[in-house]
């Protein structure tokens, strides 16, 4: 049992890479600054959907010993598999660039040296951790160091919160101003929250942890607590920015503004803790993303894989994350604004969501894969709802990016 409780760290790691990365911090901050508490509902909606999808990924791994990518190749064949593989790889390149940019920017805040100089060292650090550390190390250290991000919650509680208005934000309402920007942020929040790489990562982690059917119960707890932990902090970021920036009518133009969110509540400590949180969250996301692509490629093509293996026993798996990390820093080095890359990458994640989600409805109802642990009607309703939502997001995200981005 103790062994199983320890797997909670897998949920928390997945969650940090999903909620405390640069995309979620940036979009939550923008949402709070522009619309106060009004955009809490997409965070909550995205989290509920994510809990269901992550739980399914874990259940699939526990029941079939297959990862989501492996089962996708098995069931849908190479000609389907190639679509999520290629779209994910392209989109994830931008997401990874954004995360490297976020971590680099955190270092700029502390050192005063431009983020452009930090991009290559950050990518190298991520690569070194993957090269030298086993999966269990990633799984244990990221949540421990990641606890620094609880500072957002402390920051939110330090301020006098209007709980009534906060609760009101849980209910979707029409914006009173800047309608396009409002919906642009809704799409970005959902895109930043429901990221397919989280599911590939989580199910691979479950297989690396040798889950069997006895994990199906605890998997529910891990998915729920893990994702809620991240969501709570994302809401805290939004709330702090709503309190600090919204009354002043400030729009978030860049990370240097977002960096000041905690100084009101926590003084200069707030500034450094923000930098530390941004750095840790982005680093965790980088690790998770680089691994997710390596997992997906290796599993889909039947290569040997495993973060617990010696690199030379899984050469092609190592090659995938090495190439990805070698390419990641250059957009940032060239001086593309990290916030712009972030916003673009979140919108594209939303655009490619349907191909990643549709397989769930088939796999999770096929007894060949999950045996008697098929989806119940609630689970199926949530997946169907998500597919419809993902298709709408996919259609509106690019026009909204162009019209409502500024």
């Amino acid at each position: 049992m103790k062994q199983k409780i320890l797997q909670l760290t897998l949920g928390v790691v997945t969650s940090i890479g999903g909620f405390l990365e640069v995309g979620s911090i940036a979009t939550s901050a923008q949402a709070g600054a522009s619309f106060a508490y009004q955009l809490i509902w997409p965070v909550v909606l995205g989290t509920i959907v994510l809990i269901f999808l992550v739980e399914m990924s874990g259940r699939l791994a526990a029941a079939s010993k297959l990862t989501v990518s492996g089962a996708m190749r098995d069931r849908f064949g190479f000609d389907y598999f190639v679509v999520p593989l290629v779209t994910l790889s392209v989109v994830i390149y931008l997401v990874l660039a954004a995360e490297v940019g976020g971590a680099a920017f955190a270092l700029q805040l502390v050192t005063g040296i431009s983020y452009r100089w930090w991009a290559v060292p950050v990518a190298l650090l991520v690569w070194l951790i993957l090269w030298a550390g086993p999966f269990s190390a990633v799984e244990r250290w990221v949540p421990l160091v990641g606890l620094v991000t609880v500072v957002f919650l402390v920051g939110a509680l330090e301020l006098n919160l209007d709980w009534g208005a906060l609760a009101h934000g849980l209910i979707p309402t029409m914006p009173s101003h800047d309608g396009l920007h409002y919906w642009f942020l809704v799409v970005n929040i959902l895109g930043a929250t429901i990221a397919p790489y989280l599911m590939y990562f989580y199910s691979s982690g479950a297989v690396e942890g040798k889950w069997d059917e006895s994990y199906i119960g605890i998997n529910r707890v891990i998915a729920t607590i893990g994702m809620s932990f991240g969501a709570l902090l994302a809401v805290a970021v939004l709330v702090v920015c709503a309190r600090v920036f919204e009354p002043a009518g400030m729009r978030m133009e860049g990370y240097d503004q977002i960096a000041l969110m905690l100084t009101g509540a926590l003084g200069s400590w707030g500034f450094y803790l923000f930098a530390a949180s941004l750095f840790v969250g982005c680093l965790g996301a980088c690790l998770e993303i680089a691994l997710a692509v390596a997992y997906m490629t290796a599993q889909g093509l039947g290569w040997r894989w495993g973060q617990d293996e010696e690199p030379r026993k899984v050469p092609r798996f190592v090659l995938v994350y090495t190439v990805l990390l070698a390419l990641a820093p250059w957009l940032i080095v060239l001086g593309v604004s990290p916030l712009q890359v972030t916003s673009m990458s979140m919108a594209l994640t939303a655009a490619t969501l349907p191909v990643a989600i549709i397989p769930f409805i088939v796999l999770m109802n096929d007894p060949v894969y999950v045996g008697k642990h098929t989806n119940g009607w609630i689970g199926n309703c949530v997946v169907l709802f998500t597919i419809v939502m993902a298709c709408i997001l996919a259609v509106v995200t690019i026009p909204l990016q162009l019209l409502g981005g500024g």
């Binding site: 064949g77 190479f78 039947g302 690199p311 030379r312």
Partner: protein, 119 residues
């Protein structure tokens, strides 16, 4: 047995319980006087790229033919070497000493081993 559902795209496991690619293609054999039967499992190469539709398939097949290992020829496993068919397919092949792992060995020897701390 259902060819597409139970064989195609499944993970291949070698005699030492190591992963060695997936069933990327199947070759059938039909001779006068016998039932058609599966003759060979194909792994990698142009067998895989030819499954892609339209110009993507043609273009990637042409690239593999020109630049791929063994000019894109797949690694072939005779059906008689199949040991068991399950969620994964186990075959009587030692993949480490076969061409199935040629690209993996190439990456290991030429790239991974040259990074400090690899072994």
């Amino acid at each position: 047995m259902h060819l597409v559902r139970d064989l195609l795209d499944k993970q291949l496991i070698d005699v030492n319980w190591q992963k060695m690619g997936r069933v990327d293609g199947l070759l059938m054999e039909a001779r006068p006087g016998t039932q058609p039967h599966i003759a060979t499992i194909c792994v990698g190469g142009t067998v895989l790229t030819r499954r892609l539709p339209g110009f993507v398939g043609r273009w990637s097949t042409a690239v593999l033919r020109r630049f791929g290992p063994r000019h894109g020829a797949p690694f072939r496993i005779p059906w008689s070497r199949v040991l068991s068919v399950d969620a994964m397919i186990r075959v009587d092949v030692d993949s480490d000493s076969s061409d199935a792992m040629a690209s993996s060995r190439w990456v290991r020897d030429r790239i991974i081993d040259r990074i400090p701390g690899a072994s």
